[in-house]
Symmetry: C3
Amino acid sequence: MTAPLGPLGPLGPLGPLGPLRSVLFTPADKPDRARRIAETQPDCLVLDLEDGVGIADKASARTALAGFAQALAEHGRPTVVLVRVNAIDTEWFADDMAAVAAISFDGVVVPKVERVTDAATVRSHLGASPAALLLAGIESAAGVATCEDTLGRGSFDACYFGAEDFITDMGGVRTPAGTEVLYARSRVALAARLGRIPAVDQIVSSFRDDDAFRADARLGREIGFSGKLCIHPAQVALAHEIYRATEAELIRARHIVAAFESRDGHGGVVSYDGQMIDAPMLTRAKDLLARNGE
Amino acid sequence: MTAPLGPLGPLGPLGPLGPLRSVLFTPADKPDRARRIAETQPDCLVLDLEDGVGIADKASARTALAGFAQALAEHGRPTVVLVRVNAIDTEWFADDMAAVAAISFDGVVVPKVERVTDAATVRSHLGASPAALLLAGIESAAGVATCEDTLGRGSFDACYFGAEDFITDMGGVRTPAGTEVLYARSRVALAARLGRIPAVDQIVSSFRDDDAFRADARLGREIGFSGKLCIHPAQVALAHEIYRATEAELIRARHIVAAFESRDGHGGVVSYDGQMIDAPMLTRAKDLLARNGE
Amino acid sequence: MTAPLGPLGPLGPLGPLGPLRSVLFTPADKPDRARRIAETQPDCLVLDLEDGVGIADKASARTALAGFAQALAEHGRPTVVLVRVNAIDTEWFADDMAAVAAISFDGVVVPKVERVTDAATVRSHLGASPAALLLAGIESAAGVATCEDTLGRGSFDACYFGAEDFITDMGGVRTPAGTEVLYARSRVALAARLGRIPAVDQIVSSFRDDDAFRADARLGREIGFSGKLCIHPAQVALAHEIYRATEAELIRARHIVAAFESRDGHGGVVSYDGQMIDAPMLTRAKDLLARNGE
């Protein structure tokens, strides 16, 4: 950061994209999946023109967008539907943007964001839909190196950390434990907080391994992510499970809040269940209850 | 860092705050705890006007400072006694500073430091005690993002990393393993080293779980912290235990130093106990012995 | 980074130093080890004038360089032979550089790089060998803090992360798990990628503990390092073992590439062995095969 920061203020209410516990990616050229998607009700659906679509299918996937939108309207449209276009430097970007601008979606997912000008470049292609929401993908070495700048200017409404692309760019290897991406993943989450936008956590490619998904999602939530990228409809419910507080967490939070309220402003610390609880933990308890509708 | 750094020089002798193996926080309005505190003999005691005191008790806590100082004088005053004031942007800060300036303490703990001007702001309130020592709390997203600047100008004499407040600000969750704060914790320790000041490690809220404290303190020591924030008198002895070298460590260090000395400058590497030992490990062995009074 | 980055482009072919799976350090004053070294065939050999040589032996080690070069010529010279000189600020640096310039080596290892001017300083001493390759050691608090600048200007051809010196400078403790250096190690790997140069991973001092070496090397490879510093000839084969793909990895990569090729550009995602495979994973599979000669 070039300029010193002042206080960020408290974590605000949900941003314009609403909750982002689950952000489900699906190839844009597979509208037959609309029914299954509608059943899972992800917080956000992304119709993918980029990595989910083969290079021989780029044009037909664009054409399929309208049909996918129609199929979603029939089966139950998720609250937020975005389109991921191909990266700005690719031959497909301009045509992708033209296709998106022609149909009514909620916004655009911009992969491999690396420059502070990237958001403006995308907006310049949106023409009639300047209010579209933008979700930035931070998923390369250069993207991580510049994320404090790209995410810190109010240009994007949310971001995700793409561990698979990042580690490919690094020449490394992805593991279930994720130690190899902890630095980058943590740095992106911090940069998003500084930019006052939510960050969505990396995918889990083993789509049949529920426990692997849960463990990875849990660490993401602990770091401060708002939700999880999903690459299979079955992961949506798992993401909601992890980002919803457990009953034990809710009970603990209610007790902590009650303990402080019973003191009416006297006493800055309470002992609860073997822990010293003070102001930041009280704030966390209140945040947890608020995010879970209490 | 905007400007390239030159060599920092070796880790110096103890700073003006002396050893900081244990920095015990206690609410400023509980002078009845002075005797118990005196028994534990923390390296540094912090009388807390901030999170340890309820908002209804802020004024009475200020008034209680003088009595607490008196009680400490009777029971055995720790070598260094500081007062933590409320954060600069709060309604209580100015009155807190006035109360501190009226009594003779060793210095001020400034929570939630985020701007390079914060140290000067605090000093401008100190008036008659310009020589007071300042300990900075780095415990927010913005605080971590700016710590290279805030800690790098000779403004503060020490700092701590506040994991609870930081993760609350991030919207995350604290865990005993602490993976969710490893990035921020490591970054603050590095920034403190660059600023040539000691860094004190995060609290462990489970004050009855000695093994959890030991494990967390051990990792902090490994990263390069100088000691541990304590939120209960019983944690002081544990902090000293971890930051004191074990007998096995001392024996190993003595052997390494002796092996090199016997060579009188010939041979840069010795094999000891299955390890190749060279210059940095010899320096570590000497540092360890020096810090433990040998 | 002060300026926004553009795309880095794909991970290129091997740099001018060739593969760096193993970078073996040996004291420059022990030419009797040439035969054993030649047998292990490290990718890169470093004759060490710095930490591997006692301060009483600095002059004789310089004198021994010519004999070591001769012994290597007899027994089988590794492809790349470098000399590590003492750090720029030391009393030995100028004489070391004069000794290196007088003999034909492939380049110089510069320890404790901390300033953007360090590469130019070394080159100014090289005189007749301006084409010599430079390998930077990032191994101090200041070195890590400035690595984005020092490694990002095309001045160095490769770098290594020196965990032992770094943690000594931090006043910390090294452990086999290495959690205490994960931040610095990851940051250096990222900075090297941004500078488009390979990074060589930290040493394992327990030279008889093969499993410890393997575990540490594996994590380094996962992060994106190109190879491993070795402090004993027996570690060279272990480094090659870890940086060579396993048969299982090769089989998986071949299957992934074949699955995509059979689709001829149609379909951006394939399901393989319970994983969703898309573009970044295909790229990783191709990279793996290419690096293993397929």
